[in-house]
C-alpha cells in the first residue's frame, strides 16, 4: 500500500471526530447518498456493457465517502463544482439519478440534450457548476462565483475538487492562488486516490502530501481519511464554517483510493498485486455500515429497507431513462450562440440559387 496514505496506518473502523455534531437523520442521509452513488454507478456499468452507455464510465468505487461527506457540509445556495468521479457530491446537491442516466445514455431529454457526456453538465438550480474535461479549470471558475457573491453581499460558500493529477496543471495553481490572494470562501477538496490514470502520486509531485501546499498558498489546510465519511464530513464542516465566518479558503486533502481503473476500459495492469484488496478492507460503505449498526443508529432491517428503496428508485430511473428519446439530429446546430446562426438545415446543403450573381 502506498505510504502516502493516511489510511495505511489507520484503523479499518470509522473514527468519530470529537467536534462532530450530527443528527440521526443526517447519518441516514450520508448512508443513503453513498449507497445511491455506488448503486447508480453499478447500473451505469451494466448499461455500458450492454452498449447503452457509450463513451465510458468513470467509477468512484471506494471514494463515495469523501464526495458525499464533503458536499454534505454545504447548504442550499452554496455552490459546488465536481470532477468526473464526484457523482456522490452531485447527488447530494439534489441532481436526480434519472438525469445522470439520461446524460450517460446520450438522450435528447438529458441535461445537455445529448451534447455532452457523463457529469459534464451544470444545474444552476442546484448550485452545481458543470465541469469541463480540462483538469484544473474549474478552480478559477469557482473563484469567479465567489467574487460575484462577494460583490452582491450574498452569503455563500463554494466547494470544488481537484485530483492528485489535476493539481499539476497551471490552471489549478492560478485558480487556487487567486482564491487565496483574495481570501475567498472556497473549499478545495484535493483527492489523493493514489493514481492519475496510470500515474502513481509519487511520480506526479515532489512532495508527498498536497496538504503541505496549504501554508505556501496562505490558506488553512487539513488532511483526512477520505474513506471515512464522518471525518470527511467533519473536516468539510469546519472548513465551511471557517469560510462562512470570514476565515478564508481551506484546502482539505482526502486520502483515498481509486479501486477501479481510470475508466471501464482500463485493465489496471500498473497496479501492484494485492493493493486493491488491501483497500477493499477499508471500503467506506462497509466501514460506515458497521458503524451505524454498532452505534445503534439503524437496525439491520432498516439498512435492508434503505437498500431496497435505493434499488426501487434506480429501477424506476433506469426505466425512465431507457424510454427517453435520443436527440433530434438537427438539434446539433442549436444553442451555440444566443442569436440564431444557421438559416440552412445544415451548412453543407446551401442553395446555389441563392448565390450572388444567380
Amino acid at each position: 500500500m502506498p505510504d502516502s496514505s493516511a489510511v495505511a496506518s489507520g484503523t479499518p473502523e470509522i473514527v468519530v471526530p470529537d467536534d462532530l455534531v450530527i443528527e440521526r437523520t443526517e447519518h441516514l442521509d450520508l448512508y443513503w447518498y453513498m449507497l445511491l452513488n455506488r448503486r447508480l454507478e453499478e447500473r451505469l456499468v451494466n448499461l455500458y456493457r450492454q452498449g447503452r452507455v457509450v463513451g465510458g464510465v468513470y467509477r468512484s468505487l471506494g471514494q463515495e465517502a469523501e464526495s458525499v461527506g464533503t458536499a454534505y457540509a454545504l447548504r442550499d445556495g452554496d455552490y459546488m463544482s465536481p470532477l468526473i468521479r464526484n457523482l456522490g457530491s452531485i447527488l447530494v446537491k439534489g441532481v436526480e439519478p434519472v438525469d445522470i442516466l439520461k446524460q450517460y445514455m446520450a438522450k435528447g431529454t438529458g441535461p445537455s440534450g445529448g451534447k455532452d457526456l457523463n457529469v459534464h453538465f451544470g444545474d444552476l438550480e442546484h448550485d452545481f457548476i458543470g465541469p469541463v474535461s480540462m483538469l484544473g479549470d474549474m478552480i478559477s471558475v469557482i473563484a469567479g462565483v465567489a467574487l460575484a457573491a462577494r460583490i452582491r453581499s450574498e452569503d455563500l460558500v463554494c466547494m470544488t475538487y481537484i485530483g492528485d493529477g489535476g493539481f499539476s496543471t497551471g490552471a489549478a495553481h492560478e485558480g487556487w492562488n487567486l482564491i487565496c490572494a483574495q481570501q475567498l470562501p472556497v473549499i478545495l477538496v484535493a483527492e489523493d486516490n493514489c493514481y492519475a490514470y496510470s500515474t502513481p502520486t509519487p511520480i506526479q509531485m515532489g512532495n508527498r502530501d498536497m496538504v503541505d501546499r496549504a501554508p505556501g498558498y496562505g490558506c488553512a489546510g487539513e488532511q483526512v481519511d477520505g474513506n471515512d465519511v464522518l471525518q470527511s464530513y467533519a473536516a468539510a464542516r469546519r472548513a465551511v464554517d471557517r469560510a462562512r465566518g470570514g476565515g478564508g479558503p481551506t484546502l482539505i486533502e482526502v486520502k483515498t483510493y481509486r479501486r477501479k481503473g481510470h475508466a471501464e476500459h482500463d485493465d489496471q495492469r500498473y497496479v501492484p498485486e494485492g493493493e486493491i484488496e488491501q483497500w477493499e478492507a477499508l471500503d467506506p460503505i462497509d466501514r460506515y455500515h458497521r458503524y451505524v449498526l454498532s452505534a445503534g443508529i439503524v437496525t439491520a432491517e432498516q439498512v435492508e429497507m434503505i437498500e431496497a428503496k435505493v434499488g426501487a428508485q434506480l429501477d424506476e430511473a433506469v426505466a425512465e431513462a431507457e424510454a427517453a428519446p435520443m436527440p433530434d439530429p438537427k438539434s446539433v446546430l442549436e444553442g451555440v450562440w444566443s442569436t440564431p446562426r444557421w438559416p440552412h438545415p445544415h451548412p453543407n446543403f446551401h442553395d446555389f440559387s441563392q448565390e450572388i450573381g444567380h
Binding site: G55, A106, M134, T169, S198, P329, W342, N348
Partner: protein
Amino acid sequence: MSAPERGGETTYLEAIRQGLWEEMQADDSVFMLGEDIGLYGGAFKVTDGFLDRFGEHRIIDTPISEGAIIGAAVGAALMGMRPVAEMQFIDFMSCGFDMLTNVAAKNRYRWGAAVPIVVRGPAGGGVRGGPFHSGQAESYYAHTAGLKVVCPATAYDAKGLIKAAIRDDDPVIYQEHKYLYRRIKEDLPDEDFVVPLGSARIARPGRDLSIVTYAAMVHVALEAAEELAADGAEVEVVDLRSLVPFDEETVLTSVARTGKAIVLHEAPRTGGFGAEIAATIAEKAFEYLEAPIVRVTAPDTPVPYSPPLEDHYLPGKSDVLEITRRLLGY
C-alpha cells in the same frame, strides 16, 4: 510488448509506433515526454514497450501539465535534442497553447534558434468522445507562423510523416486521427522511408472534379468517389498530408485539370483550414474554375456526444455525394 517489426500489414497506430521506435533507435537525441506514456504505454498504447527498451530518461511520465511538457520540450530542443511530446488528446494541447504559439513558434524568427520538437496526439471524432475529446486543432496552429502541421490519413503516411517530423528542424504538430488508429491497415515496405513534409498526394486520380481533403475525411472522399465512378464520374481525391507547409502546386494542378473543387474537412467551417485552401484556389486557379469552390465541413458547433448528433455533425459520404453531384451538373 516487443519491438515493432518492419514491413507487412500494419495498422495506422502501429505505423506511428514503428516510426517513433525507429527514430528513437537511430538517434539518441530523440526522447519522449507525456502523461501515462511509460508505465502504461499511453492512453491508446502508441508507446507500449518503449519504457522497457529506452528507459525512464528517454521515456518520461510527466505530471498532468501540458504547458510544462511543451515548455520542457522547447528547452531540450534548444540544447540540441529532438523531443516528442505526447498530448493524451489533442484537445488538451490548448492547455499548452501559450508554450506552443509563443515559446516554440517564435524562437527561430526572433533569434535564429531551432526548436525541433514534435507535439503529437489523437484528434478527431466518430468515437463518441464529446466536446473535449474529439476536436481537430489544426486551424489554431496553422494560423501561427513558425509551426508546421501534419495530418496523416494512411498507415504509410503516418509512419513516413512521424519520421520526417522528428527529423525536421522546426516545431511540428503531428495530428493523429484516433478513428483510424485500428480501423485501417496496409502493407508497409521493409525498408526505411520518410514522407517529406509539404507534399500532397493524389489518393485517387480523376478528371471531373477535385476533392481536396486530409486525415479521416480522405477515406470519406474515396468512398464517395468509388460510388460516383459507378455513375461514370471521375473524381480526383487530393490528400494534403501536410497543411503547413501546404503543397499548393499539387492542389492547383489538380483543380486546373478538373475545373471543379470541393474542399472537405472534419473541423468546423468558419476559419477552418478549408477556407485557406479555397482562397488559394480562387486566387491562383480562377481561370480554370467552371463552378464555385464548395466547402464540405462540420458546422460551427462543438463536437457533440450523442450518436445521432455526432453522425449529423460529421461530414459523411452522403454529404460529399450530394454536393459532388450538384457540382458535376453545374
